[in-house]
Amino acid sequence: MTALFFLVALVLLISAVGVVASRNAIHSALFLVGNLMSVAVMFAMLNAHFLAVVQVIVYAGAIMVLVLFVLMLLNIKLENQPALGKLVIGLAGLGGLAFLWMMVPLLQRSFAAIPQSAVDVQGSVREVGKLLYTQYVFPFEAASLLIMAAVVGAVMLAKRRYRA
């Protein structure tokens, strides 16, 4: 199990670095697909089966297809401006390291002490569905509204403007 975790983690991190580092946006997108798949595996390893499936279908499937579609539509591959200066990249890296330097020990300290719950939650469709349609029904409906608003908004934004 642990070995599998590390393997998937490695894939996940490499693909994440790929997303950030690729000069070609298409490559970034493909790396992101890999990354999302790895996250789906992680979800599955954590017994979140429903989410793992949704992750694959919605994220790696629908959203990434949309992204790739836009990339194709706009036909942009390379950033056409010179690469950023080393200073900016260095600063960002330094900031990232500082973030990690503070965040990781914090996480270790905060959560190591919490005992593993006896209940082994199963994020099955049934369980998640039950919760969604009972306790979280209101947010759920709100989410549907949000999606609708997003659809309308996207159409509005993306349509060509006609001038009289």
Binding site: A92, G95, A98, F99, M102, M103, P105, L106
Partner: protein, 630 residues
């Protein structure tokens, strides 16, 4: 004994007021009517005064409350008039001489385009002057006091197209205002102490409050009021406006700047004699200032060539004589000289006006001479008045001036002890100088041969008639009033010490100063005309000093006016625009610059905003992690 509700008192100032308005309105379309309306109004006021004086019993006074002017917080002030013997004398002078001068002006101003304004102003002046002398309290007096100042301003600047004339008017007003400020202080202090400004109530309050603690107050009040008088009556240090005031039409100089307005200070001191009597030090200061003013003005008059300027300085000098008497505490003499001076100085000014009129607006005496034959009436009246002012027995000036010198010597004022040895000779010298410069003026104008280019002619009867009347008064006024006036004024000013009658011989002997002055003057300016030139050469710097009026104007300009102007400019440029506005705009600029700095962070680059968010998140994290430990 006070007689209330004498409505007639109200008519005295009312006639000139109505006359002023009518003259202005009717005169706009009918220029010639203005003069007659104004003269009529003035004459009516005179008639009322005469009737009142005739009817007035001895030891009585009239009182008339027109309305309550204001009444707030326990401070009630009536717009009220009081008519006692002193007022009667003043009213007679003002309306009598005023009417004559109105009559004279009708002819004198006949050609002027703006004569409706002139007569409106002149009547307005009469109104103000009558308020001044009739006022039953200090404030009504002050109304007149400022009102005559206004009319003086308007009439000096009557020919306003000449900016220097207008400037002279402004100077007169401002200098008077300085004096008025002193007058106001005096009123404030009196009100603060006694809660009233009514003359009768003040006299009452002061007579019961003669305690020594209040004496310093009386001293200060008297001094403040005297500052007011120096402004109005052209004494050192505020006399500088009067010579410039000659810019006005000559009848104005006669009425306002010789006969009436400038004597307001003397009237005020006589009116407040109960106060000044309790402040002998203040009186002494008055006397000293008066002697020096008389002296300086007489010295200045010696070298003036403008016929009106000579008379102007002479007026200053004669006012000094009046204040000598007032300062010595013998008020009736001051009033006496006021009256006689009104006669002969009005006559002199009107005579000068007649000369100027006849010589086609020539005022420089060096371009006159020999007018004796060309305008005999003017010359005769001018001559009589010259003799009068020189103090020759039995003309009016002799009596009043003699009385002044006697009063000064008499030593009624203990505070003058020891100073008299200086003051009396100075006054005598001034009397001599008076005779001298007046003779000079007469000689340069009327004697010798004509040096100008115009064709002088005698003035019409409407102008000479007032001259004759005034000259007549100057001739006999002293003899007549010298005996009656002290008794007439006694209810107001107290009974004077009796002095015996003098014979003609004595009188002539006592007028030796005047005779000497006239003699020397005649000698210098007729037969031996090289003498003055020689003298001036010998005492060069002194004569320059005299010619330049002792540099008073220049001194004031350098010490007061210029620095104040500079301060004003500095205050505006440096303090107002620099410091205060600088601070205000500076605050705005700081906000502006901070905005500018903050703006530069708003690059519009999403990446930068993201970066700032990241940094901020880092900071929050840092605080979250380390806050407890640091």
């Amino acid at each position: 004994m006070e007689q209330n509700g004498v409505t007639a008192l109200g008519y005295i100032p009312l006639f000139p007021l109505i006359g002023s308005v009518l003259a202005f309105i009717i005169g706009r379309s009918k220029r010639d009517a203005a003069g007659w309306i104004a003269t009529l109004a003035s004459a009516m006021a005179f008639a009322v005064v005469v009737a009142l004086v005739m009817a007035m019993p001895e030891e009585a006074e009239y009182y008339y409350r027109a309305f309550t002017w204001f009444s707030v917080g326990g401070f009630t002030l009536d717009f009220a008039f009081r008519f006692d013997h002193l007022t009667a004398v003043m009213c007679l002078v003002v309306t009598g001489i005023g009417s004559l001068i109105h009559l004279y002006s009708v002819a004198y101003m006949a050609e002027d385009e703006g004569r409706h304004r002139f007569f409106a102003y002149l009547n307005l002046f009469m109104f103000s002057m009558l308020l001044l002398v009739l006022g039953a309290n200090l404030l009504v007096l002050f109304v007149g006091w400022e009102g005559v100042g206004l009319c003086s301003y308007l009439l000096i600047g009557f020919w306003f197209k000449n900016l220097s004339y207008a400037g002279a008017g402004r100077k007169a007003f401002v200098v008077n205002r300085i004096g008025d400020a002193g007058f106001l202080f005096g009123m404030f202090m009196l009100y603060r102490q006694f809660d009233t400004l009514d003359f009768a109530e003040l006299a009452q309050a002061i007579s019961v409050n003669a305690s020594p603690e209040l004496l310093p107050l009386y001293f200060v009040v008297a001094l403040c009021l005297f500052v007011g008088a120096t402004g109005k009556s052209a004494q050192i240090p505020l006399f500088v406006w009067l010579p410039d005031a000659m810019a006005g039409p000559t009848p104005v100089s006669a009425l306002i700047h010789a006969a009436t307005m400038v004597t307001a200070g003397v009237y005020m001191m006589a009116r407040l004699n109960f106060l000044f009597d309790l402040a002998p030090q203040a009186q002494a200061i008055v006397a000293i200032v008066a002697v020096f003013t008389a002296m300086v003005a007489a010295l200045t008059a010696l070298t003036q060539n403008d016929i009106k300027k000579v008379l102007a300085y002479s007026t200053v000098s004669q006012l000094g004589f009046m204040f000598m008497a007032a300062g010595a505490g013998v008020y009736w003499v001051a009033v006496f000289h006021l009256v006689t001076h009104a006669f002969f100085k009005a006559c002199l000014f009107l005579g000068a006006g007649s000369v100027i009129h006849g010589c086609h607006h020539e005022q420089d005496m060096r371009h006159m001479g020999g007018l004796w034959s060309k305008m005999p009436i003017t010359a005769a009246t001018y001559g009589i008045s010259t003799l009068a002012i020189a103090g020759i027995y039995p003309l009016s000036g002799y009596f009043s001036k003699h009385a002044i010198l006697a009063a000064l010597e008499g030593g009624h004022n203990p505070a003058l002890e020891g100073l008299l040895e200086l003051l009396v000779p100075m006054a005598s010298v001034t009397a001599f100088l008076t005779a001298f410069y007046m003779t000079r003026s007469f000689a340069m104008t009327f004697l010798g041969s004509y040096r100008g280019h115009a064709h002088p002619h005698e003035s019409p009867l409407r102008m000479t008639a007032p001259l004759i009347v005034l000259a007549g008064l100057a001739l006999v006024g002293g003899l007549w009033l010298g005996g009656t006036l002290p008794h007439y004024l006694a209810p107001v000013l107290g009974s004077p010490a009796e002095h015996g009658h003098e014979s003609i011989i004595e009188g002539l002997m006592h007028s030796w100063i005047g005779i000497a002055g006239i003699g020397v003057g005649l000698l210098c300016y007729t037969s031996l005309s090289q003498i003055p030139a020689t003298i001036y050469r010998v005492i060069g710097p002194l004569s320059t000093l005299s010619l330049n009026k002792f540099y008073f104007d220049e001194l004031y300009a350098a010490v007061v006016v210029k620095p104040l102007e500079a301060i004003a400019r500095v205050l505006f440029r440096v303090v107002d625009q620099g410091m205060i506005d600088g601070a205000v705009n500076g605050t705005a600029a700081v906000v502006d610059v901070s905005g500018e700095v903050a703006r530069s962070t708003q690059t519009g680059q999403v990446r930068h905003y993201a970066f700032f968010m990241f940094v901020a998140a880092l900071l929050m994290l840092f605080l979250f992690v380390f806050a407890g430990r640091v």
